[in-house]
C-alpha cells in the first residue's frame, strides 16, 4: 500500500506545484511507482510544469463523476514509465468534488502506486480541505518570507486539527547571500516559529524557471542546485538517512576563489 502525501502551503506562489513535480520525478527516478495528482481544480498547472498538457483526455473530475476510469485518466510521463499524472479539470471549480470523493480516489491510487503526491491549491477553503482529506502525511512548502511563514503556521494548525499528524516542512527559494547579511529569515528563524520537522531546503535557482518553462523537471539537470535539493528531499522522504542538503553561499565561494588567486600571485 502506497503513501498518500499532500503538498500544501496556504500562501500561493511559494512553489507547491514545482515541489510536487520535482519530488514525484525524483522518487520515480529511484524506481518507485509514483502518481502525482493535481487537486487545484479550475487552475490546473501541474500538467504544464511536467510538459504533459497536450496529452490530457480525461481529468480528476471525469473520474470522480464516473465518465472515465482511473486508468484512462492517468497520463504516463514522457521519460519515466513509473510516473503518472492525474490532471485537474480546468473548466470546473473546487466544488466539483468533495472530501469523501477524494478519500475514495486516493484509496484507489494507493493500491497501484508507492507514492501518491497531491498538489493542493492555495488557501484554506474547500479545495485545500479536499486535498488533505485522503492524505496520510502533509508536506508544507514555505519561503523564508514573513507572510508565507505566517500562512504556513495557519496551515500547520489546520492540519493538526484535521488529525493528520505533524506535517513536515520544505523551505523553498532560500537566498544564502541575503540570509548571511541578515536580510532574509534564516532556516532557524522559520523552524523556531513553526516548530515542525524539516524535510529539506531548496535554494533560489534560475534553472527552476528554465525547467518549468520547458516542461521538464529540474531534477533531470545535474547542474541544477535546486534539482539536487529536490533529490535530497526525495531521499529523505523515501526514508533514507541522509542529512538536509547544505546550500553553498555563492558569494562565499567566489571570495574563496579570489582568495586562492590572490595567494598564487604572491
Amino acid at each position: 500500500m502506497g503513501r498518500v502525501i499532500t503538498v500544501t502551503s496556504g500562501k500561493g506562489g511559494v512553489g507547491k506545484t514545482t515541489t510536487t513535480a520535482n519530488l514525484g520525478t525524483a522518487l520515480a527516478m529511484r524506481g518507485a511507482r509514483v502518481a502525482v495528482v493535481d487537486a487545484d481544480i479550475g487552475l490546473r498547472n501541474l500538467d504544464v510544469v511536467m510538459g504533459l498538457e497536450n496529452r490530457i483526455v480525461y481529468d480528476l473530475v471525469d473520474v470522480v463523476e464516473g465518465r472515465a476510469r482511473l486508468r484512462q485518466a492517468l497520463i504516463k510521463d514522457k521519460r519515466l514509465p513509473e510516473l503518472c499524472l492525474l490532471p485537474a479539470a480546468q473548466t470546473r471549480d473546487k466544488d466539483a468534488v468533495n472530501a469523501q470523493q477524494m478519500i475514495d480516489l486516493t484509496n484507489q491510487l494507493r493500491h497501484d502506486f508507492d507514492f501518491v503526491l497531491i498538489d493542493s491549491p492555495a488557501g484554506i477553503e474547500s479545495g485545500f480541505r479536499n486535498a488533505i482529506a485522503g492524505a496520510d502525511e502533509v508536506i508544507i512548502v514555505t519561503t523564508p518570507e514573513v507572510s508565507a511563514v505566517r500562512d504556513a503556521d495557519r496551515i500547520v494548525g489546520l492540519v493538526e486539527a484535521a488529525e493528520k499528524g505533524p506535517p513536515s516542512l520544505v523551505i523553498n527559494r532560500i537566498k544564502p547571500r541575503l540570509v548571511s547579511r541578515g536580510e532574509m529569515l534564516s532556516v532557524e528563524d522559520v523552524l523556531e516559529l513553526l516548530a515542525i520537522s524539516l524535510l529539506g531546503i531548496v535554494p533560489e535557482d534560475e534553472t527552476i524557471v528554465i525547467a518549468t518553462n520547458r516542461g521538464e523537471a529540474a531534477v533531470y539537470d545535474t547542474n541544477s542546485l535546486a534539482g539536487r535539493a529536490y533529490i535530497n528531499i526525495a531521499q529523505r522522504l523515501a526514508g533514507e538517512d541522509v542529512p538536509v542538503m547544505a546550500i553553498p553561499d555563492q558569494q562565499g565561494m567566489l571570495e574563496r576563489l579570489l582568495g586562492l588567486f590572490g595567494r598564487r600571485r604572491t
Partner: protein, 220 residues
C-alpha cells in the same frame, strides 16, 4: 455584572445563562448592553445559551439570535429544561439539549482558570472567562482572550487581551513578551519596536496605561 445574565467558561467553551423569569424585552435589552460593553471579549465568540425553564417561541429565539449576531456572537446550542424551547431551537436549526435536574452553581470568574499545553498557531483563538495559563508559544496571528490574567510559559508573539470583561487589574506575563498587540480591559498597546528580549516580562495597567516591565520588578 448584571445578575440576569451570567457567563461561564470551561474547557468546552463559553456558556451564557439568561434569567428564566425576567420579562423577555427587558432581558434582550440587557443582553444587548452586556455584549456591547464587553465587545473585546465577545466579538467572534461561539457560545451555548442556557435559557433555563423559560418557554421561548421560535420568533423570540430568532429575535435573540439576530441580536447576538449583531455583536459578532454565534450560538452553538440551546440548553433548556422546557420542551417547547428545545423544539423552537431545533426549528431554527440549532442543537438543543435538556438541562441536568440539579445544575452546578455558576462559579465566579476568579475561581476558574484554564490551563492549556500547546502552541497556539496563526488563526487560532483561545478564549476563557477566567485566567488562562498557556504552556507553549502564541504565534503571530493567534489570539488569547481572557476575562482574567494571562500567563504564557513560552513566546508570546500574537495578540493578547487580558481582563477582557473589564478588569483593569489583570496582568499578562510571558517568558518572551513580544506580542503584536497587548490589550488589558479597554486599553490597547502596541509592542514597541525593539530587539528580541529574552527575559520574562509582565504587563499591567499603571495610571490608565499599559506598562511592560522585567519580571524581577514584579511585586504583589
Amino acid at each position: 455584572m448584571s445578575d440576569l445574565i451570567t457567563i461561564k467558561g470551561s474547557r468546552d467553551g463559553l456558556r451564557l445563562r439568561l434569567d428564566a423569569n425576567a420579562a423577555w424585552p427587558e432581558l434582550l435589552s440587557r443582553l444587548d448592553h452586556h455584549l456591547g460593553e464587553r465587545r473585546g471579549f465577545f466579538h467572534g465568540a461561539s457560545l451555548v445559551i442556557d435559557l433555563g425553564e423559560r418557554e421561548v417561541s421560535p420568533a423570540q429565539l430568532d429575535e435573540m439570535l439576530a441580536l447576538i449576531r449583531q455583536h459578532g456572537v454565534q450560538a452553538t446550542a440551546i440548553d433548556s429544561s422546557e420542551r417547547a424551547t428545545r423544539a423552537a431551537a431545533r426549528a431554527v436549526g440549532l442543537a438543543a439539549r435538556p438541562l441536568p435536574r440539579y445544575p452546578e452553581p455558576m462559579p465566579t470568574v476568579e475561581a476558574e482558570a484554564l490551563m492549556v499545553m500547546r502552541t497556539l498557531r496563526s488563526g487560532q483563538v483561545l478564549r476563557h472567562t477566567g485566567h488562562i495559563t498557556l504552556i507553549g508559544d502564541v504565534n503571530p496571528g493567534a489570539e488569547v482572550i481572557a476575562g482574567g490574567s494571562v500567563v504564557v510559559w513560552g513566546r508570546l508573539r500574537g495578540l493578547v487581551h487580558a481582563g477582557a470583561l473589564g478588569d483593569q487589574s489583570a496582568i499578562i506575563c510571558a517568558l518572551e513578551l513580544t506580542p503584536t498587540q497587548l490589550r488589558i480591559a479597554d486599553l490597547i498597546a502596541r509592542a514597541p519596536d525593539r530587539d528580541k528580549v529574552s527575559r520574562p516580562e509582565f504587563a499591567r495597567v499603571v495610571a490608565g496605561e499599559i506598562v511592560v516591565d522585567g519580571w524581577e520588578s514584579f511585586k504583589r
